[in-house]
């Protein structure tokens, strides 16, 4: 049987979880750590609302068991928004009119963060690819794409 104690890094701080290793990461983040920026849309890996960054990769926390989080480095919107790049993206989303109901936005910001961390001056196609696992019911995506472009230009000082 797996040890019940799982230690990992959450938004830059060491934390521990004691409990069912098959509990979903999303439930632990929202209910145990109060990180309600992680949203639940579909609960089956389809919509990206629950996206978090795990070891530098964008993943959906609704289908990750806590047992797979041993020693991992997890970032949610609550941690990313305070980083330099994260706050640039959040401001660009606000200024660019990317947000309507807001439900998809934490996942969108994290997807944008992973893209812009890896790539400077991404093409529209690359931006659309990067957010293709994140479904937005409201905006039609165009203003989100433009806001990601705006964030990239601002961080490059263009």
């Amino acid at each position: 049987m797996l040890d019940k104690k799982i230690t990992f890094t959450l938004n830059g701080k060491k934390v521990e979880f004691i409990g069912d290793p098959l509990r979903r990461l999303i439930d632990t983040l929202r209910e145990d750590f109060g990180l309600t920026g992680v949203k639940e849309g579909c609960g089956e890996g389809e919509c990206g609302a629950c996206s978090v960054i795990k070891d530098g990769k964008l993943v959906t926390s609704c289908i990750i068991p806590m047992g797979a989080v041993y020693g991992a480095d997890i970032w949610t919107i609550e941690g990313i928004r305070d980083t330099e790049l994260g706050s640039t993206i959040v401001e660009a989303f606000a200024d660019g009119g990317a947000v309507q109901c807001g439900f998809c936005i934490p996942g969108m910001v994290l997807a944008s963060y992973v893209l812009l961390k890896e790539k400077s001056d991404p093409s529209e196609e690359e931006i659309r690819q990067a957010i293709s696992g994140n479904i937005c019911r409201c905006t039609g995506y165009d203003l989100i794409v433009k806001s990601i472009r705006l964030a990239d230009e601002r961080r490059r000082g263009v």
Binding site: M1, P21, R24, G43, E44, E46, G48, I63
Partner: protein, 222 residues
């Protein structure tokens, strides 16, 4: 209560009853048949994540994720095309090639393409390791260790789905000596003669038959 079992080796995992946890994308997904599995055995730490060049062939570790394969220079373009059928970047970061084959889904992203590239699986069974053609693999048929595919096969892929996120109605792939079809609602078929079609919410049996025949003729077969 469901439990997650940690083992010290794949041999030990083989002796346990339950679902294996690789990328985990099927394990906790609501409505997945595995959502109810009582025991989940973590095998990911023991699965190879390497891609090896073996001349005209490549050997792919069962633990390779879709995204790692998409960024590998060793993977041929026909396989990258099939890997990109998984349209969500988040899922691509988690899902493994071994898990995709073992799931043996009737809308399988990879099985038709791998079968048409003459894939052979190295599988760990209670009696030891065996190398088998992909067409002989059965669900719950041991632990897949690696997949060897031809780099030079002339594979043509076909897939019909409503949107990039929807389940496919028919997925098919053809090469000069192989053909393979995944037909939603019916299963996976490694030759044309065994094909069968059932009507469901994704389309009528006639529509699925039409797509299969269309793909076959577009691939240059009569």
């Amino acid at each position: 209560m469901r439990e997650l079992i940690r083992v010290n080796s794949l041999e030990e995992a083989l002796g346990k009853k339950g679902a294996y946890l690789a990328g985990g994308t099927e394990i906790l997904r609501l409505d997945s048949p595995l959502d109810k599995a009582i025991s989940v055995i973590d095998i990911l730490p023991f699965l190879s994540k390497e891609v090896e060049d073996e001349g005209d062939w490549i050997r792919i570790g069962a633990g390779c994720t879709f995204s790692s394969l998409l960024s590998s220079a060793l993977i041929p373009s026909f396989l990258k095309e099939a890997l990109s059928y998984m349209s969500s970047p988040e899922l691509r970061e988690m899902a493994t090639i071994g898990g995709n084959i073992a799931s043996f889904r009737d809308d399988s992203f990879l099985i038709p393409t791998l079968a048409s590239a003459y894939a052979r699986l190295e599988v760990l069974l209670p009696g030891g390791k065996e190398c088998i053609p992909l067409s002989s693999f059965k669900r719950d048929g041991g632990i897949i260790l690696s997949i060897t595919v031809s780099k030079t096969a002339d594979v043509k892929n076909f897939r019909e789905s409503l949107t990039s996120h929807s389940h496919a109605v028919v997925t098919a792939a053809f090469s000069s000596e192989c053909e393979c079809y995944a037909v939603k609602g019916s299963g996976i078929f490694f030759d044309h003669d065994s094909l069968s079609f059932a009507s469901d919410m994704y389309g009528s049996a006639e529509y699925k038959r039409y797509l299969s025949e269309l793909y076959r003729s577009e691939s240059g077969r009569s």
